[in-house]
Structure formats: structure tokens, C-alpha cells
């Protein structure tokens, strides 16, 4: 595991965007070779999308040969509702870049058969050759996608009932009325994300510090689903200073000492698979 500690949420966004750009460009995609990207929604990745749009407009990265799979979507929320993840992705990312709409996949929470929708999503990921890089955020309770505490760590894409904490946290997006928050979501499973070749988790803010501590300093636990990635061969945690507040000084110092090594990952000169074996 790598832990990259940066000054602020803005630098996390920028670092993450540079990493995604670097991976796409190193991959040398083309009509017969698509880079497959897993994507999150929410406030943490918003800055990353802004940066990626900026790099795209500057001609530094193209999404023409990129396929994307989003992590989750609410059930029974109209697609053009401003809180739907379809709406988020279209307006905050897809419409600004050159991705082919055929290659942008978002789970359909309004599908007539939700179980079928989930199993088709897994098949679609498999058909794309698996996910090369899954970018994720986490909730304060350590959930990744909508894999709430207690989710199986080998779970696959499925319908998930949201925890009370999540409903309360999300009520602010629905006029502070908890009854308007959708109670179910479609989400990729922990196992689905584990299968990707690489995972990058973005964590910012003091309110997520305890979750980061649980994710990396304690053992693997289905009550903190993000901790599962301790067992993934290539996991990157990108966090800001505030998110480290619950970590041991020793942990923070160790990873800060590695920062020069980590920054090489986003430099233009060295290919990532060269840097990968240097921790």
C-alpha cells in the first residue's frame, strides 16, 4: 500500500488527476486497446474531474479510447434529478471530454429488473477486460461505493439498502428531508473493486480521519469495508493533512518520508510500471 499525504484537498484533486492522466497516457490506448477506469461521485472527486477537464482541454489527455464504469447509483431516483449520479457524471465530467457515450457506463437505478442490471454490469466489466484503475472515495464510516458497514468483502454488484448514517448524511442533498433520500442504491461490490488491477482511494477532511485510521492501521474488517484494500496488491490512498489526524505520528512520518518516491509516480519521465516496484 502507498499513502500519499498532501497539503490540502485541492492538491489531492490535482495529484489524483495527474495520476489518472499518467496512467491513461502510459497505457497507449487505441481502437484495439481501451483503458478501463472505475469512477466515483461526490465532493472529493469533483476537484479531480475539474483538473482532468482542464488537462483534456489543454490537449494533454484524451478519453477517446477510455471506458468508464461508475461505482453506484440511487434506486428509483429520476435520472435527471440533480442528485442522481448520471446527472453528476454528465454535467461534471462526461459532457466536457471526448469520451464516446457508448463507453461510459453508469448503473441504471431505474432498470425494470435491478438484479439483471447488476449482473449485466459485472459481465460488461468482464467484457471490457476488467478495470485497470478504480478511483474511489470513502464515507466517514469507511464505506467504499455503497458497501455499507457489514457488507461482504467479496461482494459483487448488487442492490444495497442504505444505512441510517448514510441517509442522514445525504439528507442535506434532498432539502434536509430524510424521507426524500432514496433508501436503496445499486453498487459495485467490494470484490468487484478488489478485482481491478489498481485502486486509488481519495480521502480528505478531518471528518474522514477516523475512517482512514481504520482503513490502514487496524485489521481488515467488513465493518470498515475500505480496509479490504490492505490485501490488494496495488492500492494508493491519497489524503490531505486533515485526514491524517487519527493516524500515529510514526505512520505519518514514514509515508511523508516516502513522498519523493511517490511524486515520481506522476512525473512525466518515468513509466509507472517502473516506479511500481519501488516503495
Amino acid at each position: 500500500m502507498r499513502l500519499v499525504i498532501l497539503e490540502s484537498a485541492d492538491s489531492v484533486a490535482e495529484w489524483a488527476a495527474k495520476y489518472v492522466m499518467k496512467r491513461i497516457n502510459d497505457f497507449q490506448c487505441g481502437p484495439d486497446k481501451y483503458f478501463v477506469l472505475g469512477l466515483p461521485t461526490g465532493s472529493t472527486p469533483y476537484g479531480m474531474y475539474q483538473k482532468l477537464i482542464e488537462y483534456h482541454k489543454a490537449g494533454r489527455v484524451s478519453f477517446k479510447y477510455v471506458k468508464t464504469f461508475n461505482m453506484d447509483e440511487y434506486v428509483n431516483l429520476p435520472r435527471d434529478h440533480p442528485e442522481s449520479y448520471h446527472y453528476y457524471m454528465l454535467h461534471n465530467f462526461f459532457k466536457h471530454i471526448d469520451i464516446d457515450p457508448k463507453n461510459a457506463h453508469v448503473l441504471d437505478g431505474n432498470a425494470p429488473d435491478l438484479v439483471e442490471e447488476c449482473s449485466n454490469y459485472e459481465k460488461e466489466i468482464a467484457r471490457a477486460g476488467g478495470i485497470d484503475l478504480f478511483v474511489g472515495g470513502i464515507g466517514p464510516d469507511g464505506h467504499i461505493a455503497f458497501n455499507e458497514p457489514g457488507s461482504s468483502l467479496v461482494s459483487r454488484t448488487r442492490v444495497k439498502t442504505l444505512a441510517q448514517d448514510t441517509l442522514e448524511a445525504n439528507a442535506r442533498f434532498f432539502g434536509n428531508d430524510i424521507n426524500k433520500v432514496p433508501h436503496q442504491a445499486l453498487t459495485v461490490g467490494v470484490g468487484t473493486v478488489m478485482d481491478s488491477k489498481e485502486v486509488m482511494i481519495l480521502i480528505t477532511g478531518g471528518h474522514k480521519a477516523f475512517a482512514l485510521y481504520k482503513a490502514i492501521e487496524e485489521g481488515v474488517s467488513h465493518m470498515w469495508t475500505v480496509s479490504a484494500f490492505q490485501q490488494h496488491p496495488h492500492t494508493l490512498f491519497i489524503c490531505d493533512e486533515d485526514a491524517t489526524l487519527e493516524l500515529k505520528v510514526k505512520t505519518v512520518k514514514y509515508f511523508k518520508a516516502l513522498s519523493a518516491v511517490h511524486h515520481k509516480l506522476i512525473e512525466d519521465t518515468t513509466p509507472i510500471n517502473r516506479s511500481r516496484s519501488i516503495h
Partner: protein, 396 residues
């Protein structure tokens, strides 16, 4: 350029839901469309992406009261077909994408001759959309005749029959301005409303009570507020009182046209109207044939007009002979006079007139499914280009 082409306008601030937001605008087959359906269902990209360089995109202006312009007077025109075409085309340069050609009080043979020739028609490169005729008179109060020729002013003695005999046809008519205090006015208003014609009250000595009965009978509009009506009086506020009437505002909005050319309505009067009843305010030019002509002396019909300092005067006098401000100018003057938001000023010339005519499902907004009639403006609200059905029909 085929009409099924999917166009994505980027780098623009669009006016939607009363706010200007940085948002893309998507257009196909002459309509504004929802990009989510295109992206997630059809899974296609735009055929053309147009960079708008940060400009404002607002719904095209709708002028529901315009007597002519560019040397053409709709009520006094030998060749109405070419005259109408000339005005429709020239209006594009002031951001007007739809309008109601207005005929003032005229003799019966003018109605008989002219009305069948002014057909509702779809706009395009040839000019703005004709929504239908606005008949202003002759059923008005002679004491508030304004510039209308008194000898043709009439009563409604035979009710709806008087209208039929006078106008011959109502086929192309959208709005009728009449004085609600005339005998039989209420039954005529009910009948017109049932035919889908918008009734506007004006050129009138009506009390507030007369105005309220007209609204109850179906009238929804007031013609050029403050002009050609009783001045506001605190014991009987007259038609002006409709803006604050409890009896009418409970279940419907009363709309009112207002001329913000900087001359016909004092800025303080604009502010009064704006502050007491902002939802009903509709900007109209009420422009006359001299609009769009250069400064100097012009002969229009039998009248000699002099344009001096942005005012149209009867030549050799200081008598105003009508408004000549274009709609884009009226919007700017209104904004400066009232200190309202940019969004509001633009909606007063687009959303509000569309609401007043009951056509908001196809005109007056940038909502999904409506006609792609819009204008590009810079941050000072100066017009950059005009678009009808998704095609550029005027560029500065």
C-alpha cells in the same frame, strides 16, 4: 446543415429557471433537448460543438405589441406582405424571434383587406416568427384614444357581432385590446377567451371594478400600463390597481405590457410596476414605423416624421409620435432604470410575454422541448447573434 444535426453549445451562460448558469445548450430538429437522453440512451455525441466564448444565451425576445418599423406601418401599408416580411427580417437584429404585428384602430376595409394577409408563420432566416395579430382597437374609449383616429373608434353595442362585423375574420388574431367599460365588454371577453384569443384591457377610462370584471371574464393582460388609461388615484386606482388587486391576483397572474423606451414611461413608473407586480411585467416596444430608421426627416404614409435624439416627432414640432426603441434597447433601459437582475430583465421580454399568451410550452424559455429560439448577448446585454429553430439567422 441538416436539421437532425445535434448541436452542443459550450462555454456559455444560459438562462434557465430564472438563473444564469454555466451550462451547455443542446439543440436538435429546431428544439432544445435534454442531453441526458442523448448521452445515456442514444449514446451519441454532438455533430457540431459551438464555442460561445463565454457569452450569455437567453430565450429570444417576444414583442407582443409592435405597430411597424423600418418605414413600415402595419395599419397603413399598401403591400402588407412585403412590409411584414421587411419588419420580420429587420427585427432579428434586435433579438426579437417572435412578434405580434399590431393594428391600431382602422376602418373596416383595412381590417377586411389586411387581416387575412397577416398569417401566423414560422420564423427563420427570412425573419421572426409571426405569432398572430394584436388588434388594438377600435373598441376603445374615445377619451383615451392616444394616437388612434377617433372617427373609427366604436362601441360594442351588438356584443360579439360588432366584432365580427368590424374585423371580418379572427383567424390570425392572438390579442385584442379593448376598453372593458364598454357595454357588453364582459360577454365579448368571455367569447374571445373561449376562442383562445388573449384579451388585453387598455385605451380605457375603466375603474378598478370594471378591470376586475374583465379579468374575471377572462382578460389576462393590460395594454401599455400607465399609457392611455386613468392615472392612479387612491380612491379608485383604475386599471393600474389591477397590479395589486386581491380580487384578481389570488388565482391568476395579470400580465401588463409596459414601454421602457425611456420616454413613454418614466423610470420611477417602471420601478413602481416592477416592485409591486414583477411576475406580470411584459416589455413591449409599441414601436411605430420610424423604428430602425436613421436620424432625420422621413415621410411615412401621409405623415412627415423627424427622428431627433432617439425620439420620433411629428416633423417640425415637439410632439411624440410613438416609440422607436428596439426591444434590446428597452431591455437595457429597463435594467438600468429598475436595478433588477439581468435574468429578470431578459425574462420580462421572453418568459413573461410567452406566459401572457399561454405559449410557454414552446416559446420564451430554454427548457427541454421548447423551440430553439434564442439570442447570444455579451455581459452588457448587447446582442451578438439571433437564432431561430437552432439556426443562426442574424449575426452582428
Amino acid at each position: 446543415m441538416s436539421s437532425s444535426e445535434l448541436i452542443q453549445f459550450i462555454n456559455c451562460k444560459i438562462l434557465r429557471n430564472h438563473t444564469l448558469t454555466e451550462e451547455h445548450l443542446w439543440v436538435r430538429n429546431g428544439k432544445i433537448i435534454n442531453p441526458e437522453d442523448v448521452f445515456f440512451d442514444e449514446k451519441i455525441k454532438a455533430d457540431t460543438v459551438i464555442d460561445c466564448n463565454g457569452c450569455i444565451i437567453a430565450p429570444g425576445f417576444i414583442d407582443i405589441q409592435i405597430n411597424g418599423g423600418f418605414g413600415v406601418d402595419f395599419s397603413n401599408c399598401d403591400n402588407i406582405d412585403s412590409g411584414l416580411g421587411r419588419v420580420a427580417k429587420s427585427l432579428l437584429s434586435s433579438g426579437v424571434t417572435s412578434f405580434c404585428p399590431t393594428i391600431v384602430t382602422s376602418p373596416n376595409d383595412v381590417y377586411k383587406h389586411v387581416l387575412p394577409q397577416i398569417k401566423k408563420s414560422q420564423g427563420g432566416l427570412h425573419g421572426a416568427t409571426v405569432l398572430g395579430i394584436h388588434l388594438e382597437g377600435p373598441f376603445i374609449n374615445i377619451n383615451k384614444k392616444g394616437a388612434h383616429p377617433p372617427k373609427f373608434i366604436k362601441d360594442l353595442d351588438e356584443g360579439f357581432q360588432s366584432l365580427v362585423q368590424t374585423y371580418s375574420t379572427l383567424e390570425n388574431v392572438s390579442i385584442i385590446t379593448l376598453a372593458p367599460e364598454l357595454k357588453h365588454a364582459n360577454e365579448v371577453i368571455s367569447k374571445l377567451t373561449s376562442l383562445g384569443i388573449t384579451v388585453s384591457v387598455g385605451h380605457s377610462m375603466a375603474s378598478l371594478k370594471d378591470g376586475e370584471s374583465a379579468i374575471s371574464s377572462g382578460a389576462t393582460l393590460i395594454t401599455h400600463l400607465f399609457n392611455a388609461m386613468l392615472p392612479f388615484h387612491h380612491r379608485d386606482p383604475g386599471l393600474v390597481g389591477l397590479l395589486a388587486s386581491h380580487n384578481t391576483l389570488v388565482d391568476k397572474i395579470v400580465y401588463f405590457g409596459i414601454i421602457s423606451d425611456g420616454i413613454h414611461t418614466h423610470p420611477a413608473a417602471l420601478r413602481i410596476a416592477y416592485r409591486i407586480h414583477p411576475d406580470g411585467l411584459v416589455l413591449v416596444t409599441d414601436a411605430v414605423s420610424a423604428m430602425g430608421l436613421e436620424e432625420g426627416r422621413h415621410n411615412i404614409g401621409q405623415l412627415s416624421v423627424e427622428i431627433k435624439n432617439g425620439m420620433a416627432l411629428v416633423a417640425g414640432t415637439n410632439t411624440l409620435c410613438g416609440s422607436i426603441a428596439t426591444m434590446d434597447t428597452c431591455v437595457k433601459i429597463f435594467l438600468q432604470s429598475t436595478g433588477c437582475s439581468i435574468e429578470y430583465a431578459l425574462e420580462a421580454a421572453s418568459l413573461h410575454p410567452a406566459e401572457a399568451l399561454g405559449i410557454v410550452h414552446k416559446k420564451g424559455t430554454l427548457n427541454f422541448g421548447v423551440d430553439a429560439d434564442f439570442i447570444f448577448l455579451d455581459s452588457d446585454l448587447s446582442l451578438l447573434s439571433t437564432w431561430i429553430a437552432g439556426k443562426c439567422v442574424y449575426k452582428k
